[in-house]
Symmetry: C2
DNA sequence: TTAAGTGCAAAATCTTTGCAAATGT
DNA sequence: ACATTTGCAAAGATTTTGCACTTAA
């Protein structure tokens, strides 16, 4: 099935109207195998979408569970398409992320599970983020 | 030894002049056993320090290795005094943090070590942040 | 004395809000 | 037709920069 149809269905499934800006955000995110920062998205989308609409689109998508937000080590938000396992109420994003300090890309290290932790009594856990910072594969090659 | 003397020495050790704003920042950070957000610091310091000076003070302290910055799950910066083990070039902050989604405080869970990870070939690791989000001790009692 | 540090004002960013026009269903 | 969504403009918030005045050493 072509991507465009998948995206149409995805929007329809969440009672969102199928509009050009939304489809272009999905297309860009789908084309990248890593989480993409907001400024980066803006650049990739060019004038296909207004800056404000991008903010609102990302917020809506996150609420609906279509994408999830990963915080970079520098405090910027990065966005990636959710796997089908994500729902509106529970994101399945429990793997390690890697934030390259040079290209700023955020990689999902799906292979690495987040280890079990012994949280102190009285504390309730909702989410665990494990972010490794350093230099990625690509940037190490380039030098 | 009284705190003020310790703080004087700390500043002197890093070739920083001993000034009122810097001492008040140290005093506040010292009085709190958890990492404190920038807006929170501003509030706690009141008009003891200009907002811009606070930004600059925190930046200087971080460079010198006097404090370290912990990113909250929502992307805001939180600051805490470094243990004596921190140097300018290497922060020893390799423990788990807990970010309460209600009071927004960031706790250092010193007891919990960050587990060893098998990072993929070609990637270089500089820093590992493990942030648990949820509801803390206190807020669970009140809530 | 003098280099470092501070505070104010102002610029540059980043993010949100209000509202009229456009658009999908 | 009508509620949703968009884009612009403008407000708000956050962070940085410039520069003259102050202060620690």
């Amino acid at each position: 099935m072509p991507d465009i149809q998948i995206h149409n269905q995805l929007l329809a499934k969440h009672n969102l109207k199928i509009t050009a800006p939304r489809l272009s955000v999905l297309a860009v995110l789908n084309s990248r195998e890593m989480a993409t920062s907001q400024p980066n998205l803006e650049q990739l989308l060019g004038k296909q979408i207004d800056r404000v609409t991008l903010y609102r689109t990302l917020a809506t998508f996150e609420e609906k569970g279509i994408i999830h937000k990963v915080m970079g080590a520098n405090g910027t938000s990065n966005y990636a398409l959710c796997s089908t396992a994500c729902t509106q109420h529970q994101h399945h994003d429990q793997h390690v992320h890697f934030n390259c300090t040079q290209c700023l890309n955020v990689y999902c290290l799906d292979k690495l599970e987040i280890p079990q932790l012994q949280i102190p009594d009285g504390f309730t856990t909702n989410k665990i983020d494990l972010m490794v910072s350093g230099v990625c594969n690509n940037c190490n090659l380039v030098g």
